[in-house]
């Protein structure tokens, strides 16, 4: 579902780019954002390992899940832009 939506957003972006309404994205741009997301995921996993109560663990588990989804999207986007 996530990649499908992303593909639709990329198609919209390309349309805007053709009309001069968007800035051109290069692989370096995507790689830069991907790197930040990976660092955040690693930091969240460390927090999870140190978490003491179930609420914190649930919260961090969900945050890691979202971070992983964002990383998947960034990797897919990089494969399309490169």
């Amino acid at each position: 579902m996530g990649i499908k939506k992303l593909a639709a957003k990329v198609a919209d972006y390309k349309d805007r780019l053709d009309r001069g309404k968007a800035s051109k994205i290069k692989p370096d741009h995507v790689a830069h954002v991907l790197e930040k997301l990976r660092k955040k995921e690693a930091a969240l996993k460390l927090e999870l390992a140190a978490a003491k109560n179930s609420d914190s663990k649930n919260r961090l588990t969900r945050k890691i899940s979202v971070a992983q989804e964002q990383i998947n999207r960034a990797e897919w986007l990089l494969s399309k832009i490169a």
Binding site: L6, I25, K36, R62, K63, V66, E69
Partner: protein, 619 residues
């Protein structure tokens, strides 16, 4: 006084033209020169974009860099006044340090002397009008283009052309003048001459608001033999002091930092002038020595004046540099920083208007100020201390331990500490509608405005919660206390995460982190009704208390969503391509709202220990 300036100036000009028609060409030359400087200024503003801001921020990291920037910028712009105004504007907006700003001013004083070289070395020796005409003609074509860059080049080219044309007419005017009048009749020697002509130079610069124009007048008059070399030296010194008046006028709308810089400018130029006057004979000898070694003819007084102008300004900088830290210390004592006013804007001042490129930076600082006030107010509204929330790893424990009601009037504090800042932000953001801004800058300014709107909405939502927070969390009330504590925990967690985001290294930070919080908010909001229904069915919560909680939880989640939205706008990538990448990767609202299907099995929630299990009725 200022209301008399215009009629007096027009009257004086009219009288001069009537008495001596020959003065007209000189006056017109000055006017064309000043017009050229205005065009150059406009051209630079169109070309500048965010480049100047980055250059200025980078240039003021060290004193030598600030000096170099000041000299280079003034040489390019041919206006120390413009560089002063830009520096005051950025300093007021909190974008550069005071010591960096003072360094720029020192450098500007050296850069401004290139004007004299331009006139004496080029203007008087070549047919400068021959270059001016095609420059002006070409510029008008560029000025009518749509591209800001081309228009900027057009204005700059036209400005330079008018500068040259102005010099030409001043030269012609004085040449014609000398056949009618000999101004050297008014030459004064000795100390009297020094003092009188220094004052004349000062007054002329104040009237024309340009030391460049004064120097050009002096050099062209000197070249035409209308003033003596000694009197010209005094006029140049006076011009240097007069130019500080522009900085002082520019600082009137600035905050205390801008005023400090204007005072620094006045001190430096006055001290330099005093040294130059005291050692004028020695300086004149030094100028003769330099000129002889540089191949300048002994009777080329125009070029020697340019050498003098540069020499005494360089000497001034060399003398003041070792005293720079003491000067900054004096400025900080003389113009003390006012006690930080949490309720008044700190960075959005009239000085920001003087140079629009500082608006975005000032707005960003002010939105940060607004958020700071709002976060404090929100947490106090929940009876929580900021420092405890930001310092702890177990927000739940801090919240459960915070039962004492804070004695605050949230509505009053909102008016004083939030609304005043929000009003200023909206006011200044509206100025982005001005076409001086490029589209990317306008987009970022509007984003900051929208961030401020979300912050204010969050505070207003928490205002609605206050009554029941006081009712249900300041003493144990069973399940309803647990539920309201849950809202307090969630709000506090959002604020703590935003604090962590702000404290993160900017090169590693991403607004996408906030999606991780958004997902949690939607999960909690979605499960609220189900949880409440279960508690009603099992008799742990009365329907009356449940309705209060359901209503308040909507306010709480609205506040959380507004805080997240504000920080996503605030921390969005400035680079438009990176912002585009973040936008593409970001999960949509319906994706954040969907129940998670791909997650690891969550650890079952440990219910908070119940303080008592009796059903609580809302009163």
């Amino acid at each position: 006084m200022s209301k008399y300036y215009l009629p007096v100036a027009i009257g004086a000009l009219a009288l001069a033209f009537w008495l001596k028609p020959e003065v007209q060409e000189i006056a017109a030359g000055v006017a064309i020169f000043l017009f050229g400087m205005l065009m150059l200024e406009d051209g630079f503003k169109l070309l500048g974009g965010g480049v100047l801001e980055r250059l200025l921020a980078g240039a003021t990291r060290s004193v030598p860099r600030a000096l170099t920037f000041g000299a280079a910028a003034t040489t390019l712009l041919q206006s120390s006044s413009l560089v002063s105004i830009i520096t005051i504007s950025f300093l007021s907006a909190g974008l550069i340090s005071l010591i960096g700003g003072v360094g720029v001013i020192f450098g500007a004083n050296i850069g401004t002397t290139t004007g004299a070289w331009l006139v004496a070395g080029l203007g008087l020796k070549v047919d400068i009008a021959a270059y001016a005409m095609p420059m002006i003609a070409l510029s008008i074509i560029l000025v009518f283009q749509k591209s800001n860059v081309l228009r900027g080049i057009g204005y700059a080219l036209g400005g330079l052309g008018f500068l040259f044309l102005g010099i030409h007419h001043m030269k012609e005017g004085f040449d014609a003048f000398k056949d009618q009048i000999d101004l050297t009749r008014f030459a004064l020697g000795g100390i009297a001459g020094l003092i009188v002509y220094t004052l004349i130079g000062m007054v002329a610069t104040v009237i024309m608001q340009s030391s460049h124009a004064t120097m050009v007048l002096v050099i062209t008059a000197l070249a035409a033999g209308q003033i003596t070399y000694e009197n010209a030296l005094a006029l140049a010194i006076g011009g240097n002091v007069g130019t500080t008046i522009t900085a002082i006028i520019g600082s009137l709308g600035a905050n205390y930092q801008g005023k400090r810089l204007a005072l620094a400018h006045l001190i430096f130029n006055t001290a330099t002038a005093a040294v130059a006057l005291a050692f004028i004979s020695q300086l004149a000898q030094l100028v003769d020595w330099i000129s002889a070694h540089a191949g300048i003819a002994a009777d080329d007084y125009a070029l020697k004046l340019a050498v003098f102008h540069t020499t005494f300004n360089v000497i001034g900088v060399l003398l003041m540099l070792p005293l720079l830290n003491r000067l900054v210390g004096f400025l900080e004592r003389r113009i003390a920083a006012p006690a930080p006013t949490v309720s008044m804007p700190r960075f959005l001042t009239d000085a920001v208007d003087a140079f629009p490129q500082s608006l975005e930076g000032a707005l960003r600082q002010e939105v940060d100020h607004l958020y700071d006030n709002a976060a404090k107010l929100i947490l106090h509204g929940l009876n929580l201390h900021r420092h405890e929330i930001y310092a702890t790893d177990t927000i739940e424990d801090v919240v459960r331990g915070s039962r004492k009601a804070f004695d605050i009037d949230l509505a009053d504090q909102y008016e004083q500490r939030v609304k005043t800042l929000y009003t200023a932000i909206i006011d200044y953001a509206a100025r982005a509608g001005d076409t001086r801004y490029d589209p990317d800058t306008t987009r970022r300014i509007y984003s900051l405005r929208d961030a401020a709107t979300h912050i204010v909405a969050a505070v207003k939502s928490v205002k609605h919660l206050r009554k029941n927070i006081l009712r249900y969390t300041t003493r144990p009330g069973g399940m309803v206390t647990t539920l309201y504590d849950g809202l307090r925990v969630q709000l506090a967690q959002i604020l703590a995460e935003i604090e962590k985001l702000g404290a993160a290294d900017p090169s590693e930070r991403s607004a996408l982190w906030l999606e991780q919080e958004s997902a949690q908010i939607e999960e909690d909001a979605r499960s609220t009704v189900t949880r409440v229904e279960t508690l009603i069915r099992t008799g742990k919560l009365s329907p009356t208390a449940a309705t209060s909680f359901l209503t308040d939880s909507r306010y709480a989640y609205a506040a959380m969503r507004d805080l997240i939205a504000a920080e996503r706008l605030y921390y969005a990538e400035r680079d438009s391509a990176l912002a585009e990448v973040e936008h593409l990767i970001a999960l949509d609202d319906d994706e954040l709202d969907a129940p998670s299907a791909d997650h690891d099995t969550p650890v079952p929630r440990t219910p908070a220990p119940a303080r008592n299990t009796t059903v609580t009725h809302a009163t």
